[in-house]
């Protein structure tokens, strides 16, 4: 991923693949490159079958402006090198996006159309995945700020900040004992809170307290009166911060119901699907499991026995895994030959997938045979039915 590979590494790979000493591979690459450079720089077209065509093209002279002086200049005509990859190479490189095809836009759609783009955007999750959380975060930020402000009055928010500052000044300025005492005083107030809410900042204070305990017990009484005001403030502050954090966490959990459900669902379904995966290697891209194999697994994994038996399928079960760059539409294209049929994959796996536009990486998907839904992959009416279904699903997701 985004690595830079140099000549020497290339030679290493070549030698390894061809099973020959490095010297020969290096010699070959060197000769090849000198030949290529000579040919190209002499202005000849060079065609390499597994790669593409290198061709010098003539660029006409054109008028330009010197950016520094503003003087008009003329760029003389010259040759430049163009490289056109071979068709097979183009297809191999574009493989992750192979399922997309050109779509005609309706006339009434806006130019910077969001609506028609949605279909593509949902599939384009390699980038989307990085973007989506960021935007969602922003969405959450706003409500959480306003909502946390409502339950906690602003007067309480202020002490929430102040005691911390006071505490810090106290820690720096007076003798150590004083500071320890204050921390100790704080301990009883902090303790119940920890038990109730398990709040991180409070825990940090709590861990320091036991160490202080023995040294400063007699002084506590003296400082107790002095710092009662502080204690009150600290108490309020701690309570306020705790409330704020709890509300924030609750909001976060509320706003990410999909993540929560998928996360909690994932292990159990992974468990049930594991039965299918067992006989073959897990890392396999597409795993075909014959009914015979599931029968073998039945005896091994008794827990999932009912699940496997529940769907007695004569046809072999095809399983695929969601990865980076592999989406439902990709799978549909790969297994059925058309991307519109992802709706059937979705329907088959609707118990695992909460949002078809954002299926977590690593989700194991069962690919149903199209005959199960009475669909013919080459029939245009069936494609239209699938597209209509997709539209309905998208609408339902929006609500």
């Amino acid at each position: 991923m985004n690595k830079k590979i140099t000549m020497s590494e290339l030679v290493d790979i070549l030698a390894q693949k061809h099973n020959c000493p490095k010297r020969i591979a290096e010699n070959f690459v060197k000769e090849l490159l000198t030949l290529m450079t000579d040919t190209i720089s002499s202005g000849e077209t060079l065609r390499i079958n597994g790669l593409g065509v290198f061709k010098p093209t003539w660029v006409e002279e054109r008028a330009s402006v010197n950016v520094q002086t503003g003087e008009p200049t003329v760029i003389p005509g010259h040759y430049k090198l163009t490289f056109t990859p071979a068709k097979a190479v183009r297809e191999a490189i574009n493989e992750p996006f192979a399922c997309f095809c050109v779509e005609e836009l309706p006339d009434d759609a806006p130019i910077v159309a969001d609506a028609p783009l949605v279909d593509e955007m949902g599939d384009d999750s390699a980038d989307e995945e990085a973007e989506a959380p960021a935007t969602e975060d922003k969405n959450i930020e706003q409500p959480s700020v306003s909502e946390t402000a409502t339950p906690v009055p602003s007067e309480q928010e202020v002490p929430a900040e102040q005691p911390h500052f006071i505490e810090k000044e106290e820690e720096v300025a007076p003798a150590e004992i004083d500071e320890k005492a204050i921390e100790n005083v704080e301990e009883p107030t902090a303790d119940p809170v920890v038990a109730d809410e398990e709040q991180a900042p409070v825990i940090a204070e709590d861990t320091t307290a036991p160490v202080v305990d023995e040294t400063s017990t007699p002084i506590v009484d003296a400082t107790n009166n002095n710092s009662k005001a502080y204690v009150k403030g600290i108490w309020q502050g701690v309570l306020a911060t705790v409330v704020v954090f709890v509300v924030a966490i609750a909001l976060l959990l509320l706003c990410f119901p999909t993540y929560r459900t998928t996360l909690s669902q994932l292990p159990e379904y992974a468990g049930s699907l594991f039965a299918h995966n067992e006989p073959t290697a897990l890392s396999c891209d597409t795993i075909e499991v014959a009914p015979v194999d599931t029968a073998v697994v039945d005896s091994i994994v008794s827990d999932t026995l009912s699940l496997v038996v529940a769907e007695p399928e004569v046809l072999p079960v095809v399983v695929d895994t969601i990865r980076r760059g592999v989406f439902l539409t990709n799978m549909s294209y790969k297994h059925y030959g058309h991307k519109a049929f992802w709706v059937y994959i979705y329907e088959e796996n609707s118990h695992i997938i909460s949002n078809p536009d954002n299926v977590p990486v690593g989700t194991v998907i069962t690919i149903p045979p199209l005959e199960k839904y009475g669909v013919d992959a080459n029939d245009t009416t069936d494609i239209n039915v699938a597209l209509e279904k997709a539209r309905l699903i998208k609408q339902a997701m929006k609500r």
Partner: protein, 93 residues
């Protein structure tokens, strides 16, 4: 220069069989394609850099019919010649 000529010349220079050269050349190209499809870039000294670039989707208009089309995103293999080759070509008239 066509592929055949390239292979022939290489064979003469390296003093090996044609099959040997062909298989090596295939592997060489295959490696470049394979690494580039993993979004790596390959720097070849004295020649240039091969890299895969992502192109965003875009709306284009068919000038003949006036229909607007959504061109899907794609990944393309790009070759950037190094400056020595560029200059040599530029100097040619």
């Amino acid at each position: 220069m066509e592929h055949k000529d390239l292979v022939k010349k290489l064979q003469q220079r390296l003093d090996t069989t044609r099959e040997e050269v062909e298989s090596m050349l295939d592997l060489f190209c295959g490696t470049i394609v394979e690494r580039c499809s993993q979004m790596d870039s390959i720097m070849i000294q004295g020649l240039g850099t091969f890299e895969a670039r992502k192109k965003m989707e875009r709306v284009s208009v068919n000038p003949a019919t006036g229909k607007r089309m959504l061109i899907p995103p794609k990944i393309v293999l790009v070759f950037k010649p190094n400056s020595a080759i560029k200059n040599q070509l530029k100097a040619r008239k």
